[in-house]
Amino acid sequence: MLDFGLLSAVFGGLMIGAAAALFFWLNGRIAGISGIFGDLLFDRRSGHWPWRLTFLAGLLLGYLAIRAWRPELGEINLQSGPVGMIVAGLLVGYGTRMGNGCTSGHGICGIARLSPRSFAATGTFMLAAILTVALLRHSGVFA
């Protein structure tokens, strides 16, 4: 028997992989979201803002399309309050800029290119995230 959660994970993953591969095949570029967002903000002179803006706009459209089809898939169950969101956002922004990528750029595109840097970065941020959740939920210090 096939579970809908598992099926949607696999099909969602295939769509992400297809989007990254198509973008590389057609435009020759890495679908790394932190890079596209950061360069849209800070690389004003190169004339690359149109495709960066449309790519990011597409992310929102994709979310809305899936939510229109199945509203429960659009659910956002927040796991931290405003202070947690600010601290997390600062770390994610600073860290992805310092480490040249996030889950998409390193985890999908970089590994698909067999980049040693992306293997190292992906292993590191996965481990750091797992340890952070373990510490926050199970150490008794923050609970």
Binding site: W51, Y63, A88, V92, G93, A121, F125
Partner: protein, 147 residues
């Protein structure tokens, strides 16, 4: 044409993130919570994405250039240095706190949840801090080489 391709690829990417459950912080933290009631489902997202993109990207690279541009734009660095690893650690800690990484955070901005907007603004500020820091050290290097 290239902005249109980017719109299509971005839409497919955002739809994939949403369908797979990556836009729900509760699902993401459930996946990262290996000591708790671990939900391994999201591992299939990355596995499926790579099962398709890895052979596809290797096939693309056999061609001298992409269809719509004169060259591929890939990072030239190859060294695994402290900057890469420390950056990945900081990103991982932030991901583990909120259960949001950049793609899902931007995609779910469309839901209009104020906390997600707060995360994205803080993310932009974090990027700006790093950007300023790098520009300052580049300026210092330039000043040093001139003297």
């Amino acid at each position: 044409m290239r902005p249109l391709v980017a719109l299509g690829c971005g839409t497919l990417f955002g739809a994939g993130l949403t369908l797979s459950g990556m836009t729900d912080p509760a699902r993401v933290l459930g996946f990262l919570d290996v000591l708790g009631s671990w939900d391994p489902t999201l591992a299939f997202v990355m596995a499926a994405a790579l099962a398709l993109s890895l052979p596809a990207v290797q096939w693309v690279r056999r061609h001298p250039r992409p269809l719509l541009d004169s060259q591929y734009f890939v990072p030239e660095q190859t060294r695994i240095d402290a900057k890469l690893l420390l950056g990945a650690v900081l990103f991982g800690v932030g991901w583990g706190i909120a259960g949001l990484c950049p793609g899902p955070a931007l995609a779910s901005l469309a839901a209009g949840v104020p906390e997600v907007l707060l995360f994205v603004v803080a993310m932009a500020v974090g990027m700006a801090l790093r950007h300023l820091q790098e520009r300052r050290s580049a300026d210092a290097r330039d000043a040093g080489s001139e003297s």
